[in-house]
Symmetry: C2
Subunit: 384 residues, 2 copies
């Protein structure tokens, strides 16, 4: 185990929260932490490429407690949650999850959580990095619905990779093998209350364990490590290489409040035909009818392997800035630089040629619009 | 200038935003960055005590672009903004600012921004670390008011310390000397549009310059450095030593959504007598009538100088945990460890004896409730 990262370089006082697994992540040598939903998020223990191959070949465990939950309960919880998202939650059974967007009145994306339906009127939203708790409380204020909205003591971890099935089987037995994609199980592990979901941020086989009582963080972590040792389990950060290969978006980078779902390829999360009202319905109807002006396109970027982009690199066409790269990263197995380009729709068609200024290496690079996801689509995330 | 901090230890992709002064902060040797409102926040360039003395003796400049603005305009902007905060904004003139809290329906504190009134129906809220943009948009949804709510391109910097007056005088001339506490001036600097306020997070003489066009970040920074050089100006992070001495609170550490203003000594920001409705009025009336159960008390903590607390240290009384320290830090001029203790109201009276477990040094320490602010109150922030 390497020397832990000096957290004092990021922390200042007790403003930012530590996860229930924080001490474990330090002990296992987390080298860097970012901040996400006002909480520390371990982003790597080793070289990103080493972690990528661990994910592809074995099994990895990530502390994603930063996926904070918004819990919605009360007699009107179903109607209220349905109001928050353009997906038709009538299609979501108790025990099932859905990938959803939360939209503003103008159709802008506020967040893209995984929604879990724990009861007829009991929902969790496992959040990307924005305060949906405040948004939901604000909406509820004058909505005339009877709901309770809180952030519960729930801290997920991801178990991802081809051998993840063996690990969760060891931990939770046969029932977990029955889980279909995006379904979940409420269970416990030696008295530790958890929810196990078949979800993840990779396009690989994967699960998440939602710890329901933060006091057991250390114990759960070590139980997972024990169960995973025969399968070469390794604590890592999320793999941006793998998620870009799979065409998965990162809120804040690849989409923000400025983007609507259609622009970023998430139109399949908008059920305009449902009878129920939802926030943004009128705007999204209009946007769909008019067609989008910009699009997030997959691109291959030429030249030597690029580092993961730290800024939104400008894109040029005929000498004029026309957009920006939201994510760019080198895929070691495809041996190509992959990325997402936010460009005018007329430059987003396959084969379109662009020029990228890769700020992090101070170089101009040619880029071509290609199909995404970048790896075999049949291996990719089913639309659930 | 020292070696800049390796931002890749905190950054992961282009999710987090850089400020208009980011390159300057790197060039001037920022050593650590935290994340605040989804943006990088330089927290130190040198030892915290060295930066403290610079602030006390000379003048310091801080990149506080992370104080993102929520801008509220439109015909109902006054009424809507008044709805968001318990302060009576009828008492806030155009050209004046106010320190306010934003409260939830249960009276919990959502944020404690500086509010600026730029016009009859034009407000900025300079935020602490929470997405008030989402809260305000959610509230507006069914409020039946005609308002526009955006995050404008506005990036403040703080100029703090006894020689700050000379620096802003050099930059903006005589009009800035007339500014009363919490008032502001809309002006420009060689064509760069700015708002200059007499505000700050120190209890020292201080100003903030709100840059209104991010393209000029580098130029504004260097103009400030040039004007400040005769006064020994130094880029620093905010001084937690000085702000704790002054009794100033840090949202997320010293108060959260779980606290109401009365608990944390911000009852003076609640105008229950105004006729206008505001969110949380009923709850705060009840809380005031019943009296609070917990209080944030000033404490002196015994023993050797303590490091700035990175976690909320537990507080014990008669062997039982009764609360926690939200901020604790050593004051080099008072030669004492100062802190804020969240404790039951019956243990919050002056002279009350407590035991603190200082997690960061793994030591038990005695603590005594004392008056705050900890330094001469007549030097402290007037209640504006």
């Amino acid at each position: 185990m390497s020397e832990p990262f000096d957290i004092s370089l990021v922390q200042r006082g007790a403003r930012l929260r530590r996860t229930p697994y924080f001490k474990a992540t330090q002990r296992y040598g987390a080298k860097g932490y970012t901040v996400y939903n006002h909480m520390f998020f371990p982003i790597n223990y080793d070289d990103l490429e080493v972690e990528y191959w661990k994910l592809l070949n074995d099994v990895t465990v990530w502390d994603v407690s930063v996926e904070r939950q918004v819990e919605i309960t009360g007699p009107d919880a179903f109607a209220f949650t349905n109001l928050l998202t353009p997906r038709d939650l009538g299609q979501c059974a108790v025990g099932q999850g859905k990938y959803v967007v939360i939209t503003a009145e103008d159709g802008g994306v506020i967040n893209d959580p995984v929604l879990l339906r724990l009861g007829e009127n009991h929902f969790w939203l496992a959040l990307a990095d924005s305060d949906v708790l405040l948004w939901a409380k604000g909406v509820a204020l004058n909505a005339g619905m009877d709901v309770t909205i809180v952030e519960p003591d729930v801290s997920p971890m991801q178990i991802q990779g081809p051998k993840s099935k063996e690990v969760v089987h060891t931990l939770f037995g046969d029932p977990v093998l029955e889980l279909e994609y995006y379904f979940f199980l409420e269970t416990e592990l030696g008295g530790i209350p958890v929810v196990v979901t078949r979800t993840g941020w990779t396009g690989e086989v994967g699960y998440e364990i939602y710890l329901r009582d933060g006091r057991y963080g250390e114990e759960l972590w070590e139980r997972v490590m024990d169960a995973g040792r025969p399968y070469n389990i390794t604590p890592t950060g999320p793999s941006d290489i793998r998620r870009v290969e799979a065409g998965i978006l990162n809120y804040g980078a690849d989409m923000t409040l400025e983007n609507n779902p259609y622009e970023v390829g998430l139109g399949w999360l908008v059920d305009l035909d449902q009878e129920a009202e939802f926030i943004g319905k009128e705007a999204l109807k209009r946007i769909k009818a008019e067609g989008v002006r910009r699009k997030l396109a997959g691109v291959e970027i030429g030249g030597r392997p690029l580092p993961f982009n730290m800024t939104k690199w400008p894109i040029y066409h005929n000498g004029e800035q026309v957009g920006f790269i939201t994510s760019a990263i080198y895929s070691p197995r495809l041996k190509k630089n992959l990325g997402y380009a936010n460009v005018p729709v007329e430059l987003a068609s396959l084969g379109s040629e662009l020029t990228v200024f890769a700020e992090d290496v101070n170089e101009e690079r040619p880029a071509t619009v290609v199909r995404k996801p970048f790896v075999d689509p049949e291996k990719e995330i089913p639309k659930s």
